[in-house]
Symmetry: C2
Subunit: 388 residues, 2 copies
């Protein structure tokens, strides 16, 4: 159901001729018709952040935004002031059509870094999308298609709270890394909530979802997650329920990214328990998630726990306390490493499921963390070597 | 010429039946016949360091060693006290044959993590290698073959100082990462030098060679570099010349590892200049070297500088100072990124050479550092998914 599941939102997705793929929808427009226009955003921390990120960060800083324009087919990153002017012009075009200020329009772009967008196509696309704006299910679906790049399927979310709704869409399949994946995400709600409530809910939810997936360790220049509230349900939600729904939306969308990561044949859930602190558990889980050797082994259906522990062993002691002789590793429920030594025979591990569970116990404390990753396949290399 | 190029050293390489590959030489023996027995060692910092690393670190701590036994076909890592006892037994067997103490024999192993070695094969192999010990060129070549795993060719070094010689061999092609590659390396010299001189020379040389290559970002449990001096030339070398020769040996052997990295089709030299400090330059070079997306692009012969700058941008500001708007990137001499924006057209870059030069200028200071890396290819995935 995507972003139009929540009341008060219209959307569209059109083929603006930005992407090199003929006939592909490549421009999405999401409009918040109110009565509220509260917004919260989370953006990439990449120091080469793209022009649309700079624009949108400023646009949502006051907690208000009435629309978002998103395009695939070009990241508009590392494009200097000319690129920033393109993001500004895109917002201006949308704002003029809606009769609002450009500063109330966020802009998101995804695609190749280092090239300007074909601005006439973007402008014409915003006009076409404006004409196509609708509140129905198809409009939300169209928008979720328009933001796809190497994604093989649209990724959406819809859930009902007590008297209000939450909907969302995300794109992302490459450059998926700890500090936000290469992704554009818009989540909408018709609940009556303030921008502060939105930002609090989104900050926590993003930390435990988008910031805990790692497909290829590469941080994007364009990551953007926006959470917009229209208030159209006229319902003030229970804060805990609302936070929980936002967390569910982010978790679901992040999990869908992992499930559609470039070339992946396995989704890998890495849980590190028995850590002194959650941060230390996270450092360990991320180190394992980043191991190319482990990712290749999983592609080859080998529960190679030696590649798990050698990743852990590379972590400096001050970053995560554990004794190498006490570490246990289970893969899909079989404890293959027992106190840093061989445990049950790895031939007992069933590697056929798509989902691979790696459970590590450091035996150093009580805290834990989970990171999702993928395997490293021929198809990943194909996609990233022979792309266009 | 390998390790027997220096006078005072004998070596052998035999098929001991440790490796699963029929007929493959898998056990090397290097003996220092003196008159000196000075040694220096550098070892992995992985916290799951293998039994032979624990054994050898202790064995060379006093600056004396008379022999090394090296095996492929099994890493003897994460094997607990039983594994340590295997390393000890291997040293004891060699020591008994040579009429020396076990504590004067270093042991190195490489192969799969998490399994004990077939000790009878190792013991029989040490006996066979002892019988085959010789000082000639072929003996050094045999030893360099016996330590290979996924290496496609032996890697050796030989150089002449003023009245003395230096020889060496190394293995390594996977688990190649910043804090020592997955490698076993033995360098020999007949110069008259103390263990302290050896350690000083090796420490600096390893830092600028083995610690500055990164094929797949994975730190091994077994890395070992040994530098042994026999004093057989009776020549006390000029310290600067000697240090320089040791640096040349390490640089050459490290470069050979990059050139034979698993599945690589390009060797990538990443130089970061204009940094405030050498450490900050190194942080940047390593971040670029670790980008899977960049490595895939290079395999696809695309000079994708967006993947260079997005890697740089992921570095926290406190780890490396630079202004994203001032960063230049050249690939094979063509400045494709000029001040964070597009420079010359990337179609001008000739990507056909095996060696790809990525030159980054941060314009933040005067210091620089170089890291060698490789591309990420189908063959890398093959080797690490469908290995045996």
């Amino acid at each position: 159901m995507s972003v139009t599941y929540a009341q008060g939102f219209k959307a569209a997705g059109v083929d603006a001729g930005i992407s090199a793929k003929p006939g592909k929808k490549d421009l999405a427009f999401v409009v918040n018709e109110g009565p509220l226009d509260a917004v919260a955003g989370v953006f990439t921390s990449n120091r080469f952040c793209a022009a649309p990120v700079r624009w949108s960060r400023a646009a949502v800083a006051d907690g208000h935004a009435k629309a978002v324009v998103l395009n695939s087919g070009g990241a508009n990153a590392c494009t200097g002031e000319a690129g920033y002017e393109q993001s500004h012009a895109t917002a201006r075009t949308a704002a003029e059509l809606l009769g609002i200020e450009a500063e109330d329009v966020a802009v998101c772009s995804t695609g190749l870094i280092g090239e300007l967008l074909p601005l006439e196509h973007v402008t014409a696309g915003v006009h076409a999308a404006y004409d196509a704006l609708a509140a129905g299910e198809q409009a939300g679906v169209d928008a979720s298609h328009a933001i796809m790049t190497t994604d093989t399927k649209p990724k959406t979310f819809a859930a009902q709270g007590t008297g209000y709704r939450l909907g969302g869409m995300v794109k992302g399949s490459g450059m998926i890394a700890p500090q936000l994946a290469t992704m554009l995400c818009v989540i909408t709600t018709d609940a009556v909530v303030s921008a502060g409530q939105l930002q609090a809910a989104l900050g926590v939810a993003a930390e435990y979802s988008f910031n805990r997936i790692n497909a290829d360790g590469c941080m994007s220049t364009n990551d953007t997650v926006l959470l917009m509230a229209s208030g159209a349900s006229d319902v003030e939600p229970d804060p805990d329920e609302f936070n929980d729904l936002v967390a569910q939306a982010c978790a679901s969308l992040a999990r869908q990214i992992v499930g559609d990561a470039e070339g992946a044949s396995h989704d890998v859930k890495i849980t590190v328990a028995g850590a002194r602190s959650e941060d230390e558990a996270l450092v360990c889980a991320r180190a394992v998630a980043a191991s190319n050797l482990l990712k290749c082994a999983i592609y080859g259906n080998d529960p190679n726990w030696g590649r798990v522990v050698s990743s852990l062993g590379a972590i400096p002691e001050q970053d995560a306390a554990f004794n190498a002789d006490e570490v246990d590793v289970s893969i899909n429920g079989v404890q293959v490493c027992d106190g840093g030594k061989p445990g049950r025979d790895r031939s007992e591990v069933d590697m056929t499921p798509r989902e691979i569970l790696i459970d590590i116990d450091l035996h150093a404390g009580e805290q834990q963390a989970t990171v999702w990753s993928d395997d490293l396949t021929h198809e990943y290399v194909n996609i990233n070597a022979a792309y266009e």
